[in-house]
């Protein structure tokens, strides 16, 4: 408090002092007849000289910063294309620095050299077509080089991955990353956001499609709908009372979940025949860290559950947005193992990292995943260890409960009130109802 008071007093005193100075200044101007627009040669020269001083400090600080931070900021690129990107950077830096230094030099030099002198008249020089043509064509040709080199590199980076590229899915949600390895078949199982489930019985964080997952999801949705219905219809008897707005909201939620359940049921229909949906997903495994094999090309597929995220691999010089409702992709090939990089950076604690680089919510800056690059043997060992911890299986739960959903999307659907399962699942519902109550508040 005292501190604030002191600051306040200082500010007030400073304001008074400045006001007095200004008064003095205006009196002085009146006496000397100096006008604000008059050019005082001494002051003008001072400003002109300061231009040169500034130029020196400006360039000096640039040199200092390049020397201190220049190449040491991020370790050298750890991916194959990253090396190309770095090379392209260097070419561009040459042009950028040439333009930056020469133009800024000319600017501040002219600003100094052609400072006002009363005896001189400026050179009347309004235009010169030849000059203007020259400095249109020079940047144009420099840019042509930049564009051509840039697009060649861009096409390499975004081109088709090679056939032996391993496919990994990176799944983003607020505020963590999950990796899904495609397993031995190098094919990811299908996925759908409607199957995403955090239930204890059959968690399916990524919404991977298997026949079993579909059944489980229908079962869960059914339970949710029924528990909501229970709450709504037993309103008078319930100990809890809901506001009209809450009741309305619950009813709408129930109807919505019912519609989603129907869409899932349609999926069940779609995948009911002979197909490879289960096989594709069977060997997928998920992990909370990313382990890559050196010199192995990877093809990453990105999905997001909620908002736009961006998978940013600073050390591999690459990134790609993860957009809800869309699949994006990216490829790269790591070229140094973590151990090699630790040696290069002389930092025994160094680790690669995957960050989020698109504003995604309050914990945006905490959204990260550890990335390790190792040899094939190290990878196999890691994989076995992870498997031992049983965190990897995508569809490793017990058999789904029997569901006898009436697929009533063909017939008379009446907004979710006409189901008869209430009786047959009474016990389970009671249980789920309890859980749901906990979840919703």
């Amino acid at each position: 408090m005292e501190f604030k008071l002191i600051i306040l007093v200082v500010i007030v005193l400073a304001a008074i002092a400045v006001a007095q100075l200004m008064k003095l200044h205006s009196l002085n101007s009146k006496v000397t007849g100096r006008r604000e627009e008059d050019i005082d040669l001494r002051v003008n020269n001072l400003n002109a000289t300061l231009m040169l001083v500034f130029l020196t400090i400006f360039f000096g600080s640039l040199i200092y910063m390049v020397a201190t931070y220049g190449k040491g900021m991020l370790p050298e690129p750890a991916s194959e294309h990253g090396v190309d990107v770095e090379w392209l950077f260097d070419i561009n830096w040459i042009i950028v620095f040439a333009v930056f230094l020469s133009c800024n030099f000319l600017l501040f030099w002219f600003a100094f050299k052609y400072r006002y002198h009363p005896d001189r008249k400026a050179y009347f020089f309004a235009h010169n077509n030849k000059l203007e043509l020259i400095w249109t064509t020079i940047p144009a040709s420099a840019l042509a080089i930049i564009i051509i080199l840039g697009l060649m590199t861009w096409n390499d980076i975004t081109g088709k991955p090679s056939d032996d590229a391993k496919v990994i899915e990176i799944y983003a949600k607020q505020f963590d990353w999950t990796a899904r390895y495609s397993g031995d078949d190098n094919k990811l199982g299908y996925s759908d956001y409607k199957l995403v489930s955090t239930s204890a019985d059959n968690p399916n964080a990524l919404g991977v499609i298997t026949k079993k997952n579909i059944d489980w999801r229908i079962y869960e949705l059914d339970n949710e709908v029924n528990s909501l219905r229970e709450k709504l219809h037993n309103d008078s008897a319930a100990t809890e009372t809901y506001s009209a707005a809450n009741l309305y909201k619950m009813e709408k939620t129930m109807e919505k979940l019912d519609r989603i359940k129907e869409r899932v049921s349609l999926m069940r229909e779609m995948y009911s025949g002979e197909n490879d949906v289960d096989e594709l997903a069977a060997d997928d495994f998920i992990a909370k860290e990313l382990f890559l094999v050196k010199d192995q090309e990877y093809f990453f597929v990105f999905r997001s559950q909620d908002v736009i995220h961006c998978a940013y691999f600073p050390h591999f010089r690459t990134q790609m947005n993860c957009v809800p409702g869309m699949r994006t992709s990216l490829k790269f090939k790591p070229i140094y193992t973590t151990a090699e990089m630790r040696e290069k950076t002389k930092n025994p604690d160094f680790n690669y990292i995957l960050l989020c680089n698109k504003i995604c919510g309050v914990s945006h800056s905490n959204m990260k995943m550890s990335v390790t690059v190792g040899t094939q043997e190290e990878f196999d060992a890691w994989k076995d260890l992870e498997a031992g911890n049983a965190t990897m299986a995508v569809a490793d739960s017990e058999e789904p409960p029997h569901i006898d959903v009436e697929l009533n999307y063909y017939g008379e659907h009446d907004g979710g009130h006409g189901h008869g399962e209430g009786d047959s699942h009474g016990e389970e519902e009671g249980h789920d109802d309890h859980n749901e109550g906990g979840d919703h508040h």
Binding site: V18, V43, L50, L62, V307, K358
Partner: protein
């Protein structure tokens, strides 16, 4: 415009206090209203930026400035709340881009200078002009109000990408705060459109006798093209905003496809967040030039006047403005290289974006040639103009890196981007605005600003501005993503990098605070001089354009008598055929004199 029109304006209505100072329809007063509002908004935005810079430099350390401004709610124990951090960043960006550099810059100087420099009594529609300001005022109030609501201001970034900006479950600020943001922006755009239409119509229709398009000062050309950009691009943002309001309130799915927000599964299907990005950047990129062109126009005039030399390549300068204006509409995709947009399309945007560098380079070379063999007088306005040319060079060339998708993939959304656009559009536009205020202050208030204070203000501002944004490039290349509350993620991974980022962040914040303090000098000078400054003479800078033929005291209708006729281009400085080193546009050509 005839004498009849003049009497119509001059004698009919006696102005009351309210019609003169508040609901004024006089373009000069409206210009001043825009300026003062923008200064106030800028002060707010700068304070917001200092608050989040404090967090970035000394993360998690209790700070009395934070608790003073944000209280226990948003800075419990003097430590900035994570949500509020994003709110500060969002509102700082919004206010600076739209309220200060669009409304403030264009609104002030287009209003003040268009009628004065083309020679007409007022804007084509004084009423629309007045409504334009009051919409701007109202939207400013709403935006400021959104800082004070219970759930905090909009905090999804000034680019408000959905779904983050749509669902409260994903971030608190997307509740009520976002609603106010959208309403405020809708009003802002409405006001901006009314203004722009007015500027276009006025420039086309109301030029005085002899004021051919090729005799217009470059300021007017810049305002004219800016207004066209605004009219063509802002409506797209309105439609984006309206679609977003529908997604938020009616459950439509323009921007939503298969998402789960919080624990709630959404039904919305078939839309795309990328659609919003396209719509947003279709405004967003021309917006960069809406901000930049007026500043370039103002400084062209100031550089020429104070170097006592004609602007070099007048027609090339006009050509560059037009080329930049046109190209700015076909480059928006360079903000979206990494959104999953087709890489080939990305390549096309690389090409168009880099083309913009050509007219920009021409402008820089023309500035340099204008200074060459000049006779440079350093008024504060001239100093800021030199600052603008420097920041335009420095910020412009880093754009070459970002426009190149193959390089953008490494530095996209890092502090390199923040540094780039702050230098090229933030600094340049602010420098241009300062230059404009110092130069045309005598036309606004009939008084002079204190030039010594102006010089101190310039040098402190220049040094602190580069002190802030130069290191920021290095932070960005070092892999620091923007909109991060802190960089602790790097701590356990790459210690070297963490230390580097932290070191530079402290430097940046110290310079930011210095820069903010330097602005107090300006604000003091501005308000002090407006009431107590030295009385101005009619043409203090010995410039050529028409505004310096008006009387010092404002008259409604600008010229007490006939509107002057124009006989020459505005840049006859140090013309060897004339004794004086300036020739007013109203001076008839001498016998046998060659006109430009």
């Amino acid at each position: 415009m005839s004498a009849a029109a003049h009497t119509d304006h001059g004698h009919h209505h006696k102005e009351s206090f309210i019609t003169k100072y508040i609901f004024s329809q006089d373009h000069k007063m409206i210009g001043k209203q825009f300026l003062v509002t923008a200064i106030f908004m800028a002060v707010v935005a700068v304070i917001l930026s200092i608050l989040f810079r404090i967090q970035l430099a000394w993360p998690g350390e209790p700070n009395s400035a934070l608790s003073f401004f944000l209280g226990d709610k948003w800075a419990p124990g003097g430590i900035l709340d994570r949500g509020m951090y994003l709110g500060l960043v969002t509102i700082h960006g919004t206010i600076m881009v739209f309220f200060v550099l669009t409304g403030g810059l264009s609104g002030t100087f287009s209003n003040l200078l268009i009628p004065l420099q083309i020679g007409c009594r007022d804007m084509a529609s004084g009423l629309l002009n007045m409504i334009s300001y009051w919409l701007f005022f109202l939207s400013s109030v709403l935006m400021l109000y959104s800082l004070f609501i219970e759930t905090g201001p909009a905090s999804a970034g000034w680019t408000i990408y959905p779904p983050l900006s749509i669902y409260e479950q994903t971030i608190q600020g997307s509740g009520m705060g976002m609603t106010w943001w959208l309403l405020s922006m809708t009003l802002f755009i409405a006001g901006s459109l009314l203004g722009s239409l007015n500027y276009i119509v006025t420039v086309i229709n109301l030029r005085t006798t002899g004021m051919k398009m090729t005799r217009l000062p470059l300021t007017i050309w810049a305002f004219f093209v800016t207004a066209i950009l605004g009219v063509l691009s802002f409506p797209v943002l309105v439609s984006a905003v309206v679609l977003m309001l529908m997604d938020r309130t009616l459950g439509t799915s323009f921007y939503i496809n298969d998402a789960i927000v919080g624990t709630e599964i959404l039904e919305q299907s078939g839309g795309s967040p990328i659609l919003f990005e396209h719509l947003f950047w279709f405004l967003g990129h021309p917006e960069v030039y809406i901000v930049l062109l007026p500043a370039l126009g103002l400084t062209s005039e100031i550089v020429s006047t104070n170097a006592r030399k004609p602007i070099f390549g007048y027609r090339a300068m006009i050509g560059s403005i037009l080329a930049i204006g046109f190209l700015s509409f076909i480059v928006w995709g360079h903000h979206m290289f990494l959104t999953g947009m087709n890489p080939f399309l990305g390549g096309v945007f690389v090409f168009t974006t880099l083309l913009i560098a050509i007219p920009s380079a021409v402008k820089v070379f023309n500035y340099l040639t204008t200074l060459w063999k000049g006779n440079i007088r350093y008024t504060p306005a001239m100093l800021f103009s030199v600052g603008l040319v420097s920041s335009f060079i420095t910020g412009g060339i880093t754009g070459i890196i970002l426009a190149d998708s193959a390089l953008d993939i490494a530095v996209h959304d890092t502090y390199f981007v923040v540094a780039h656009f702050h230098v090229v559009m933030g600094l340049s536009a602010i420098f241009g605005m300062f230059a404009g205020v110092y130069h045309w202050f005598p036309k606004m208030y009939g008084r002079m600003m204190n030039s010594r204070l102006g010089m101190v203000h310039f040098w402190l501002t220049l040094v602190s501005a580069y002190g802030v944004f130069f290191p920021m490039h290095f932070v960005g290349i070092g892999g620091a993503p923007r909109r991060y509350y802190d960089y602790s993620v790097y701590e356990g991974f790459d210690g070297n990098q963490y230390e580097m980022i932290m070191d530079l962040n402290v430097v940046i914040t110290v310079f930011a605070i210095l820069g903010a303090i330097a602005q107090i000098i300006f604000i003091f000078n501005f308000f002090y001089s407006a009431s107590k400054g030295q009385k101005a003479v009619q043409n203090p800078w010995k410039a050529n354009t028409l505004e310096w033929t008006t009387p010092v005291e404002h008259v409604h209708g600008n010229w007490p008598g006939e509107i002057p006729e124009v006989h020459r281009w505005p840049y006859d400085f140090s013309n060897p055929e004339h004794e004086e080193d300036y020739v007013l546009q109203t001076t008839p050509l001498k016998e046998g004199e060659h006109a430009h």
